[in-house]
């Protein structure tokens, strides 16, 4: 008899455990933890952030210390784990410090773009009318520029420097954020609780920022994560074209630019920097995909 009881009790306990688990699982954070893509993405991003943060500790050499005697040395040359570049600088150190630039620029540009874009999107979507027309036509106009071209012209206007790169890529990012936000606001503002708020006499601004914005946030976060990924590529593209970060600051794109000039004789220069860009971008894309899967039940499989 006791044996059978055990079986039954086990069943009940398992049942309870499952219920508890399900309750837990509804928590977005836990959902995210269970999402394999998100975890891998998060891991990659964390590693890159850690590498960037601890660059001074991890880098074996001063990233800007030149040593003209040993240019273009290959992987593993005398303590230069990833070799040296045209001026004999340690590529590993430059990549580690470059991670700082790339990440700061990418995240910064996304924040700039998101802040402005979300604001414009909120106002245009909520108030509609001529405000919407003016804002969105302007955004359409900006959107019609090839992204990199807009960034190129902006950076030429603003001049080199990390803040200017952030600003340039950020501004080029504004229209897409505005569009995403506006689309979301238009959906959310028609929902019942918004009407309820209006009936109760909540002011427009309060409704907009206290009720509508929070309901758009998840979409914006997903979009922003994916934008960070493309901002990394944008920064690299600009540096590759010789625009943007001031010399001799290392960025992944500027290492690639050097690597381009020695593709046959020293392919490791372009190779390593490119790999880092690729992996980081994959990381952010995975993270973005993961967050979207969690926040957007429609996409969940």
């Amino acid at each position: 008899m006791p044996e059978r009881k055990t079986q039954d009790v086990l069943g009940r306990e398992a049942n309870m455990a499952m219920l508890r688990q399900e309750r837990k699982a509804n928590n977005a954070w836990n959902k995210l933890k269970r999402n394999r893509t998100a975890v891998i993405g998060f891991f990659i991003v964390c590693v890159m952030v850690l590498l960037a943060v601890f660059a001074p500790v991890l880098a074996p050499y001063d990233p800007n210390a030149i040593n003209p005697i040993i240019p273009y040395k290959g992987i593993g040359f005398e303590g230069h784990l990833l070799g040296t570049d045209d001026l004999g600088r340690d590529i590993l150190s430059r990549i580690l410090y470059g991670a700082r630039v790339s990440l700061v620029v990418a995240v910064g540009a996304t924040i700039v773009g998101a802040t402005l874009g979300v604001l414009i999107g909120l106002l245009a979507g909520y108030f509609g009318g001529w405000l919407d027309v003016v804002f969105m036509r302007f955004m359409d106009g900006m959107f019609s520029f090839p992204f990199i071209l807009l960034a190129m012209i902006l950076i030429t206007v603003l001049g080199n420097g990390i803040w200017n790169v952030i600003l340039a890529i950020g501004i080029a990012n504004v229209p897409s954020f505005a569009r995403v936000t506006r689309g979301q606001v238009i959906i959310v503002k028609e929902e019942e609780y918004c009407n309820a708020c209006r009936v109760v006499g909540v002011s427009d601004l309060r409704l907009l920022f206290a009720h509508i914005l929070p309901n758009c946030v998840s979409q914006i976060i997903v979009y922003a994560t994916l934008r960070v990924a493309s901002a990394i590529i944008s920064e690299a593209s600009l540096s590759f074209l010789g625009l943007g970060i001031a010399l001799p600051t290392a960025s992944w794109g500027s290492i690639l630019r050097i690597g381009r000039d020695c593709l046959t004789t020293a392919p490791h220069v372009a190779g390593t920097a490119g790999l880092f860009i690729l992996i980081t971008v994959i990381g952010f894309n995975l993270l973005g995909d993961g967050i979207r899967d969690v926040l957007d039940p429609k996409m969940k499989q």
Binding site: G141, S144, F147, I153, I277, V281, N285, L286, M299
Partner: protein, 314 residues
Amino acid sequence: MVKMILKRFLQTIPTLLIVVTITFCLTRMLPGDPAVAILGVEASAEDIAAMRAEMNLDKSLPEQYMLYLQGLVQGDFGYSYSYREDVLPLVLARIPNTLSLTLVALVFATIVGTTVGIVAAIKQNTLFDYFFMVLALIGVSMPIFWMALMLVLQFSVRMGLLPVMGMGDIKNGIGDVISHLLLPGFCLATTPMATFARTTRSSMIETLSSDYIRCLRARGVREWKVIGMHGLKNALPPLVTVLGLQLAHTFTGAIITEGIFSWPGMGTMINTAINNRDYSLIQGTVLFSAIMFVFCNMLVDVAYMLLNPKVKGA
């Protein structure tokens, strides 16, 4: 329907006007004196002043803007001082090159991307699915200029299979054209291809799990029809949206890819124009790329309308 398309068409006009205005403002903000850029640094002050006058740079900004707009209305896009040619024929001569490259890339990307996406959706969670989705993830994350370099290194420099640069000439046979197109085309196609594969897959999965697909199956409709006709047509709208975005993306990519492969298209010209502070040419190229973009977007919207009977009926 025609009315809607016409309305959509008219909507592009203010957009283009804004593009013109933004470009005008941005180019005037560019550092550097275009007159000096043309005449060279040894030119005398009088020569430079004369050149500035010839280029209308001595007028006030609003005046310059009005002059530019007037010219545009009359089909005069200005004169490129760095190429010493009118902008319009210059741009028109380049557009086919860029268009052929981007279109080939996009068509290739669309065919391959959607096919992979569909198969991955059907074979969801199989090895095929995983393999191609990882590939697609790498594809969307790839800095294409880097990939271009690596491909050149491998296929042209190391293996000597493909030409490294330039555009083929039909006079040398179709093989010449194709071999020149292969690397830049593939590079340009990578991101859209991967994006298509991903979008098609998720859109297809969503469609295939919908009720009417089950109903179709329950009605005994053959599988290829269910997937190929009903599934695909319903999964199309998000694809069309992505296609529109990718058009712009591909053009952006072309600016860098053309440079790497010495493709004589708009991309290389834009670079030259910016470097030389060739205002008219920058404005011209930007305007034309914007026109292309806006036009493509319009096509996408129209396609969207055609695909969605709910919009169509309205």
